[in-house]
Symmetry: C2
C-alpha cells in the first residue's frame, strides 16, 4: 500500500468541483460535486440519530435501492435537518438538477448537507450551484482539493487522503475527503465523508467492509459528544482499475480493507485534531483489555470527558480525571491492577499504577501534555484486546464558536 | 409540608461545625462535621464509577454493616481517590479520631472527601481538624450554614434546604446540604450530599425511599457529563421527633417521601444552577413520553449536550441542537409528531412542530434564553410519562476553571 497525493479524484475516472453558491456563507466555496465517469457500486453508513436530516433519508434510499450511484452533491452552511417534507423535496430537486446536467438518473445522485439545523434550503441557489459544479468538474488533484474545501464549516483545514495498492496485477486507488469539527460524536458514520475507489468490488463486500471499519475509525472519535443529525459516509467504487472483481473474502479483500482502514483512520484523526477550537489531538489507546468492546468503551470515554479535555488544554497532568472517565465508561475492570502512561510520541511517563497515582515529575508531565498530539496509554492487564480513540482538547474557542454559531 | 430555614441542623438533635484545617485550601473553612446526639438509622447511595474514592468504600461498609451511624466528617480540597491502601487507612484514622473525641464507635462515623484526585491526605491536619470540629459543633442554624460552606470546592454558593411535616401528631423535620459544581453527572448519588432527619423510620424504608428518589433528582442533573469518583449521598435519621416509627408503606411514608423529594430536588437544582462557570440553570422537561425511562433519557440528553449548553450561554435559539440531542438520547420517538417550546417561567414559545422548525420571532427566543432559568419543554405526544432534568450553560469560565484546576 502506497500513500499518494490527493483525495476523491485520486482514483481513476473520478471528477470533482467546488463552487460559490452563497447558500449561507458569502465569499467562499460552499458547494461540492463528486462525479464518476462510470456507474458505481455504492455503500454507506449514516447517523444513528433519530432526528435524521433530509439528505440522510434520501441517501439511505439511494444506497439501498438504486441500481448504481454516479454523483454526490454536497453543500455547507445549511444542514437541511428539521425541515420536514420541504427539506426532502429539496433533496429530490437537487438530485434532479444534477441528473439533468450530468445526463444520469436522479436516483444515481447522492446529496449531503452540513450546517445550521432548522433552516430551509434556498433551492434556486442550489440549482445554480449545481450547474456551475458540472461546468467546472475535473479529474485533477486540484479539483479534489477544491471540493474538500467547499464542504468545510467550522473546519480550519480541509481533509483528504489517498492510497494505492495492487490487486491481480492492477493498481487500485482509494481516496476520500471529509469535513467535521463540531457536533462530532459519530455513531455509524460522521458529519460528511466521501470515499472514491476505482476498485472492482461487489456491493455486498463494499458495504460490509465499510460498516465494519467505521466501528474502529469514525465511530472512535469525538469532539463534543453530540451525534449529528447529518452523519454520512458514502463510498463509490467504479471498477475502472480493471482488477478482478473482489467478490469473496480473499487476500484482495484484505488489501482493500487495509487501504480503507488507512484512509478512514487518517480522515477520522484529522477531524478529531481539527475539532472546534482545538489546540491538540488527544488520543487514548487502551491495551490488554478483556474484550474489544471494553477497549472501545474505555478509550472513547477518556477522549469524550470534558474534564479530561480541559486538562489537556491546560497542559495539566490531572490524571485522576482520566481514571475517573475510565471508571464511568461502562466497562468492568480492576482499578488496583492496571497502569496509565502519558505519551507524546517521544516520551512515556507512568502516572498511575496499582490503584495509586505515582510520584511522577510534574514538569515532565506538563511537557508531554504541551505537545500538539497527546496520548494516554492505558494497560488494563486483563486480556488481549485493544482500541484507540481520538478527540481534542476543550478550549475557550470551542465555547466561543458554539455560543453563537448561527450569527 | 412547610419549607423552613436551615439545613443539616434543622432536625432535632443534630449538630454541625465547619473549620479551617488547611488541607489544601488556605484561609477558608475546609472541614465539616455533622453529629447526631442519638444513634441514627442510616442509608446511602454512592457513585457507580468503578474507580471509587476511599471514603466511598468506607461509607458503603458503614451503611451496610454498622448497627448505626452518628457522625459525618467531610473535607474539601483533596478527594482521597486513586490513593490506594494509604487512602483507605486515612479514612479509618479519621473515623477513629472522631470516634475518640465524640465517644462513639469508629464504625458509626461516615467520612467524605471532595477535591483533587490522586493526592494523599495530610493525616495530621485531618486529626487536628477533627478536634476543632468537635469543640465547635452546635445545633444552631448558623452551625449548619458553616458546615455547608466548609464542603464547597468550586461552588460559588453553599447549598442547603429544610422542611417540616406532621407524622402522627408529631412535627418531623428533614434537612440537608450538598456541594458540587464540576464532575457532576451523578449516577447513584452526587458529589457530596448529607441529609438529616429526626423522623423515626426503619432502615429498610429509609434506604428504599432514598434509592428511589435519587433517580428523579440527583441522577437527573449534569454539569459536564463526568460521573465523579466520590459521589456520596447519605441520610441520618435519629428518631428524635418521636413520631410512630415509619415501618410500612403507609400515608406517613408518603409524607416522608414527599419531603425527601422536595429536599433532593431543591439541592439538585441548586447544584446544576451553580455548575462550574454557569450563568444559567438549564432545565428540560419532557411530557407525554411513552415511558418514564424514555422521558428521563430524553430530558437528560438535552441538558447534557455541549452544543445545547453553549447555545444557552450565547442566548442563541439554535433549537436544532435540542432536537439533535433528543435524537441521540437512545429513546425511540417520532420526530414528525412532537412539539418543542422555549420557556422562561413567564413566556412560552413554540419552536418546533411536526418535523419542522417553526417560523418563530428570533428576538423573542433570544429574550427567553437570556433569563437566569431557561426551560426547554418537549411534548412527545406519545403517552403519559414525564421527567425533568437540570443542567447549566457551557461557558468560557467552565474551561478556565478546569484547564488548570489543581494550581
Amino acid at each position: 500500500m502506497k500513500i499518494i497525493e490527493g483525495g476523491v479524484t485520486a482514483a481513476k475516472g473520478f471528477e470533482a468541483a467546488g463552487v460559490e453558491a452563497s447558500i449561507k456563507y458569502q465569499d467562499r466555496k460552499d458547494m461540492a460535486l463528486v462525479y464518476s465517469q462510470k456507474p458505481c457500486v455504492t455503500a454507506g453508513v449514516f447517523t444513528s440519530n433519530i432526528v435524521k436530516a433530509a439528505p440522510v433519508i434520501w441517501d439511505k434510499e439511494v444506497v439501498a435501492h438504486s441500481p448504481y450511484a454516479q454523483a454526490i452533491v454536497a453543500n455547507a452552511g445549511i444542514a437541511n435537518a428539521c425541515t420536514g417534507s420541504q427539506g426532502y423535496e429539496c433533496c429530490k430537486q437537487t438530485a434532479q438538477a444534477a441528473a439533468e446536467c450530468l445526463q444520469i438518473p436522479a436516483d444515481a445522485v447522492l446529496v449531503a448537507s452540513t450546517g445550521v439545523i432548522g433552516m430551509q434550503m434556498p433551492t434556486e441557489k442550489i440549482a445554480e450551484g449545481v450547474k456551475k459544479l458540472v461546468q467546472q468538474k475535473a479529474d485533477t488533484i486540484e479539483a479534489g482539493r477544491t471540493a474538500a474545501e467547499a464542504i468545510m464549516t467550522t473546519d480550519t483545514i480541509s481533509k483528504q487522503a489517498a492510497v494505492s495498492f495492487e490487486v491481480g496485477g492492477k493498481t487500485v486507488t482509494l481516496g476520500g475527503m471529509c469535513k467535521g469539527s463540531g457536533m462530532i460524536h459519530p455513531n455509524m458514520g460522521t458529519m460528511l465523508g466521501f470515499l472514491t475507489t476505482d476498485a472492482a468490488i461487489s456491493k455486498e463486500l463494499l458495504q460490509e467492509a465499510l460498516s465494519e471499519n467505521v466501528v474502529d475509525t469514525f465511530n472512535m472519535i469525538s469532539v463534543d459528544g453530540d451525534t449529528s443529525t447529518n452523519d454520512t459516509l458514502v463510498i463509490l467504487a467504479n471498477g475502472m482499475a480493471e482488477n478482478p472483481e473482489i467478490a469473496s473474502k480473499n487476500e484482495d479483500y484484505d488489501k482493500f480493507r487495509e487501504a480503507l482502514n488507512y484512509i478512514n483512520t487518517t480522515l477520522a484523526k484529522m477531524m478529531a485534531g481539527d475539532g472546534e477550537g482545538a489546540t491538540a489531538l488527544f488520543e487514548t489507546k487502551v491495551i490488554h483489555a478483556k474484550t474489544k468492546e471494553d477497549a472501545r468503551k474505555l478509550s472513547r470515554s477518556v477522549i469524550s470527558s470534558s474534564l479530561s479535555k480541559a486538562a489537556v488544554f491546560g497542559h495539566d497532568a490531572n490524571c485522576g480525571r482520566f481514571l475517573c472517565a475510565l471508571g464511568y465508561s461502562g466497562a468492568a475492570f480492576d482499578p488496583d491492577n492496571m497502569e496509565v502512561f502519558l505519551e507524546n510520541g517521544e516520551k512515556s511517563l507512568l502516572v498511575y499504577k496499582d490503584g495509586t497515582v505515582t510520584d511522577y515529575p510534574e514538569e515532565e508531565a506538563t511537557q508531554i501534555l504541551s505537545a500538539p498530539e497527546v496520548r494516554v496509554l492505558v494497560d488494563m492487564k486483563a486480556g488481549d484486546a485493544e482500541a484507540t480513540a481520538w478527540g481534542c482538547d476543550l478550549t475557550y474557542d470551542y465555547v466561543k464558536i458554539n455560543a453563537d454559531y448561527r450569527s
